[in-house]
Symmetry: C2
Subunit: 197 residues, 2 copies
């Protein structure tokens, strides 16, 4: 109990990230300011942090756990756009516009959250924070090309090769949704794949 409380008070992981992007140790006043912008909370598995229709959504930096950003189409089907875990950001960069996305915890998670306006302040001060967006873009573009030009089977192999950890932490139907195919089809791919051993 008291352990959990102390963990919520502790901004070490966040501050270590800012130290990293600053490329130098942080001063006391700086730490004070940074932490003042963020909230910290823990959520249990399958908790919604953001839902379509909300405006002015927050950006989340993950200390522990696994989250997914997804969309629900007209027919009610979910599509996972990205997963994010320890020491990664997740959020809708389209904010403050009304978001079409959902964010949900896949595992019990501890996350820092920051509002867009505060994020923008830090963004100007820590220019490397902009690298997060640029990296996200490069990642998404690569993923886009893969989905567009490769078969689901090839995309699965690529996921296993590039992010083996994810496969273990995710239920199969979340992976199929990330690959843009039905759970039934992914199951078929895996059955075929298993035979090859």
């Amino acid at each position: 109990m008291s352990f959990e409380f102390r963990s919520m008070e502790n901004y070490d992981v966040l501050l270590s990230y800012f130290k990293h992007i600053k490329g130098a140790p942080l001063e006391a006043a700086e730490m004070q300011e940074i932490t003042s912008y963020f909230g910290k909370r823990s959520y249990k598995k399958k908790t919604l942090l953001m839902r379509a229709g909300e405006a002015n959504t927050k950006h989340y930096y993950i200390e522990k756990g696994l989250l997914r950003l997804y969309i629900i189409d007209q027919s009610g089907k979910e599509f996972n756009i990205l997963f994010a875990s320890e020491r990664q950001w997740i959020g809708d960069l389209g904010t403050p516009a009304e978001t079409p996305y959902y964010i949900e915890t896949v595992e019990d998670s501890i996350v820092y959250s920051i509002a867009e306006e505060d994020f923008n302040v830090l963004y100007k001060r820590y220019i490397k924070l902009a690298q997060y967006i640029r990296k996200s873009y490069v990642f998404l573009q690569k993923r886009f090309v893969s989905i567009l030009s490769k078969t689901a089977e090839e995309n699965y192999e690529e996921l296993v090769a590039d992010h083996p950890g994810l496969i273990q932490r995710l239920p199969q139907y979340q992976i199929s949704s990330y690959l843009g195919v039905t759970p039934v089809f992914l199951s078929k791919i895996l059955a075929k794949r298993a035979k090859k051993d």
Copy 2:
């Protein structure tokens, strides 16, 4: 002849963009500095500006014309990732890493080019330049979701609705490549669509 020469000397379109992102008039020295970072050139239709395998690629700001960024997959098929025209940027944000992409003019075009290191200098000075990357991300994410969750027919309708100008400026096979389908299938969609009138 002399007219064309004067056009190449003229950085008005570029400077007006920087004035716009600065949100205030530019000083003479500032103009001098900005223009010193950029080259300006005109290219005729179907000229390659960037090809897969190159490192340290440039960023391009378009004064006139239409360009496409695309990839060629293992089987030799091309996939258009994005089109950019007047007053838009195009380039591989993954630079300085070796690029997997190609950039080609679709129409005769006039473009300004800037190297990554100079781009970074401006990027720090004009924080709003970072908005270009953020906007690109938001655009790509939307496009990604569309390709993933909608049929080619729906994606075509969306393109007509959102960018009617593009349809007129592009040959049909470039559009099909942007939608992630074969020219044959797009032709089928259009035939079906034409009947409805």
